[in-house]
Every structure is written in structure tokens, then in C-alpha cells.
Amino acid sequence: MEVYFDQFGVFWEGFLGTVQMCVLAAVGALAIGTLVAVLRVAPLPPVRGVGTAYVTVFRNIPLTVVMFVCAFVLPLLGSNADFLKIPGLTTLIRPLGTELPFFRFATIALTVYTAAFVCEALRSGINAVPVGQAEAARSLGMTFGQNLRHIVLPQAWKFAIVPLGSVIIAMIKNSALALSFGVLASMTGVFDRLISQAEGASYDSMAVLVGVVVGYLVLTIPLGLVLDAVERSQKKTVRR
């Protein structure tokens, strides 16, 4: 029990690290995923091809491999992922701005991987929008962009909210993998730091494990509840 009080700092640091990475990756994945979904429903075949290729590549490669490529191949190509050192954001999320790039590499990997799933969830939402909606918009003279922005996507979001929630929850759990690629400040890193410490105080591994599990549940369960609430409130507005 005392591990929770003695080592609260370690738990908090790990929790914060996971939250920071997940918020960044969620925002990034939703943005890129939406973009790729738009590509995949575009009227031009080559553009559709680009979107399909993205999903095919990133949905079919294990996340471990994506992380490995980001952590060990990007530096070979001369990239330190410095474009993520966004002024202002780096003061809020410290690891983003450090010279050590592994937090940025892991975040990039998690983002591009999750974006493929976001795209597909969103596309299922787009497909659920009755064809008549898009046809009506087109007959009113709307362009492809206007059609998506004003008619299709707002309705697609509502259909896609449940699968998108699952994708984000899966992403939070996937973030645990970053530990193996140089990001010790994560929820799973807590376990590593308190249990396999070669010297010093040793804690009951069960107690630490329970603490780590609680850390993840604190993130995922409320997210699930929020999504349920959003779904309920939107059931009223979506006509099927």
C-alpha cells in the first residue's frame, strides 16, 4: 500500500506522460485521419489511391514496427522530428521540446498508425450518410468540398462517434508500447521503474500493477462515458 504514497511522484509522472502523448496523438490522428478519409472518398482516382495506400500501409504494419522505424530510421534520414518543437506547446508539454527526440518519435508513430483507423471509422460514417444527401447537395450546385464540409461530414461524425471512441481508447492502450522506444515517462514505465529496479527498495509488484491499471482506467473509462453521453445526445438529432 505504501508504494502509492512513497512513490506517488513516479505514478504521477508516468500518468502525465501518457496523458501528454495521448492528447497529442489523438489530435494529430483525428486531423490526419479526417484528411485521409477525405482523400479516400475524393472523385479523382489518383487522389483516392493515395488515401487507400496510406491506410493499407499503416493499418497492416504492427505498431511496434512503426515505432521502430520512427525511432531508428528517421534519425538515419537526418530527422530529429524538430518540426514538433512548436513554441508554446513545448512549455506545456516539456518532453516535446527536449533534445532527446524519442518522445516525439513515439508520438509520431502513434499518430500515423492511429490515423489509419480514424480514417476507416470516419469512412464508415460517411458511407452511413444516405446517398440522397450528397446527391441533393450536388444538385444544389455545391462543390465536392462544400458538400463534404456542410452536408456529409457533419452527419458522418455522428455515425462515426462510437467506432472513433474505440479507436481512441485502443490508442491510449497502444501508447504503452512507447516504453520500449525510449519513453520511460509513461504509465507502463512506472511498473518498470518501481519493480525491476536493481537496487534499493523493492515494492510488491501486485500493488504497483494495480496502480498502473488504475492509471489507464482513469483515462479510458471516463472517455467511454463521455462518448456514451455524446452518442445519446446525438441520437435525438440523427434521423435514420
Partner: protein
């Protein structure tokens, strides 16, 4: 006269019978040791259980043939041979770092030879013979990088260093770096550190010189070992707490083996190419 001759014959027969009953394998080493000592018990049994690592390259690594090999294993064999125990009669027991004390205290093994650093915390539970080897934490850098000369080079907050999660070296280096978040990266295995060092994401790797020597010998054109250990990790042989007689016997054996070349043979069979053999061996008797 006649009677005593019969008695002598009977006695001889009885002795021969006893010896035969003990098995041809049995050794006469048992007679060398005082009754009631650990040595006598082991020599009489003709077999012993030795704890070692199964996953530590160069020291105790279990190969495809199912037998562990390495410097720890060779040293353990020297002790066993001194007791008259043959290689085939040694039962190797895997001893991960965190289980070593428990294995000794519960008599699951007769001794532990497993990159076992002697320290005071451990001495409260078990006793140590040796050290038979002294390792130390060192630093590996890129071959052309002359800016790092020791752990103090991390004090200005610019050089990045890599190690492995949950390890003692990682904890040690924390006291030298200025900013942990920006300078210290930890992976689960050292091979990733080596990749990061080669592609210049980090500037150094730190851990025991034994491990680093292995990497240097594999990549002589890319990396360079600083070669100045800044910690001292004496590896000892763990035995039951306060079994002083057995401890002294192991210490005697180590000293004898060092002077008659058996220690060198063990070294040559395992870590010769990587680490220079020290010119002297000084065990600590307490």
C-alpha cells in the same frame, strides 16, 4: 596371531566393500575434509547444485546444448572439481538477479556464481567468497567523438546518454546528468542503445564494462570504450550466511587456481578476447 590375520583380511574386505558400495564414481576427496563441513557433505554426495545466470552473455548463458557457458560457469567448475565433483554431476539452477538470496537461504543451491555483486545489503542475508572478478561501469562513445572523457562530461547538460530500464547503471548515471528528461534515454535492451549511438540520437552508452567490451569488439570501427570504470562491482560467490568454513575453502581454491593457471584457463575459455585479465586476485576474507 591367526585370529588377527583373519581380522585384518575381514577388515580389508569390509573396507573394499564399503568403497565399492559408495560407487566407482565416488572420490577420495571426501576424506580430505573435516566431518560436518559443507565440503565433506558435497564431496561425499559427489554432486552439487550451483546457481548461475542463464541469460548473461560471457558469464552464464545457456546455449542450445542446454548447458550454461561463460566465465561464471568456468569458475564454478573449478570449485566443484576441487571437491572432486565432475562436470556431469553439477546441477545448474537458473538464478535471476532478484531470486539469488532466496535460492541460497532456502538451500535450493549450494552456491551462487551469477555476476553477483558483493554489497552490504546482500551480506545481511548471505555470505560472499571472492571477489573472483571486478567489473565497473564505463562509457561507450562513437569512435570519432572526443568530447566525452568520463561521467562528468554529462554535467553541462548537452550530452545524451543511453542505458537500460531498471538497471543499476541507469540509476548511477542519474547523479551525473544535469537534466534527466533531456539527457537520459532508457531502452529495454542494450542493442537499441547501440543503434541510437550509431545514428547519433545519443552520444554515449553506459553500463558494466563487460557488456560494453562486447559491443566494442563487434563494432571496432564505429565505437570506442572510454576505459575508465567509475564504479566498482566486485563479483562474489554467494553461500549460506556464516558458513565461514566453506567460504574460506572457496577463497583458498580461488587463490590456488589463480596461481596454478586454472583461473587463466577459465578466463581464456570465456572472456579472453574482450577483457584483459588482472595481474592479481585479492579475495576478501571476513
Amino acid at each position: 596371531m591367526r585370529l588377527s590375520r583373519i581380522a585384518a583380511v575381514a577388515l580389508t574386505a569390509a573396507l573394499a566393500f564399503t568403497a565399492a558400495a559408495c560407487g566407482g564414481d565416488d572420490n577420495d576427496a571426501a576424506g580430505k575434509f573435516a566431518a560436518g563441513t559443507t565440503m565433506e557433505r558435497l564431496a561425499k554426495a559427489g554432486k552439487m547444485k550451483i546457481g548461475t545466470k542463464f541469460d548473461q552473455p560471457l558469464f552464464g548463458l545457456k546455449g542450445l546444448d542446454g548447458k550454461p557457458a561463460g566465465f561464471d560457469v568456468e569458475v564454478a567448475k573449478i570449485i566443484a572439481h576441487e571437491l572432486g565433483i565432475k562436470d556431469d554431476n553439477i546441477e545448474w539452477v537458473e538464478s535471476p538477479s532478484k531470486d539469488r538470496e532466496a535460492l541460497i537461504m532456502d538451500s535450493k543451491v549450494d552456491m551462487v556464481v551469477a555476476t553477483y555483486t558483493i554489497n552490504d545489503t546482500r551480506k545481511e542475508k548471505v555470505s560472499f567468497a571472492g571477489p573472483y572478478f571486478v567489473a565497473g561501469q564505463d562509457i561507450l562513445v562513437r569512435k570519432d567523438d572526443m568530447s566525452i572523457s568520463g561521467p562528468e562530461s554529462f554535467g553541462d547538460g548537452t550530452k545524451k546518454v543511453c542505458s537500460v530500464t531498471g538497471s543499476t547503471p541507469a540509476k548511477n548515471i542519474e547523479t551525473y546528468v544535469k537534466d534527466k528528461t533531456a539527457q537520459l534515454v532508457l531502452f529495454d535492451v542494450y542493442s537499441k542503445c547501440l543503434d541510437a549511438l550509431k545514428n547519433k540520437t545519443v552520444d554515449a552508452i553506459t553500463t558494466d564494462n563487460v557488456i560494453l567490451s562486447g559491443y566494442q569488439s563487434q563494432n571496432p570501427n564505429d565505437v570506442r570504450l572510454i576505459g575508465q570504470a567509475f564504479t566498482r562491482e566486485p563479483y562474489g560467490i554467494g553461500v549460506k550466511k556464516d558458513d565461514k568454513v566453506f567460504r574460506d575453502f572457496i577463497n583458498d581454491t580461488l587463490e590456488k587456481a589463480f596461481s596454478d593457471g586454472r583461473y587463466k584457463a577459465a578466463w581464456d575459455a570465456s572472456i579472453k578476447d574482450l577483457i584483459k585479465m588482472p595481474s592479481s586476485l585479492s579475495v576478501v576474507r571476513y
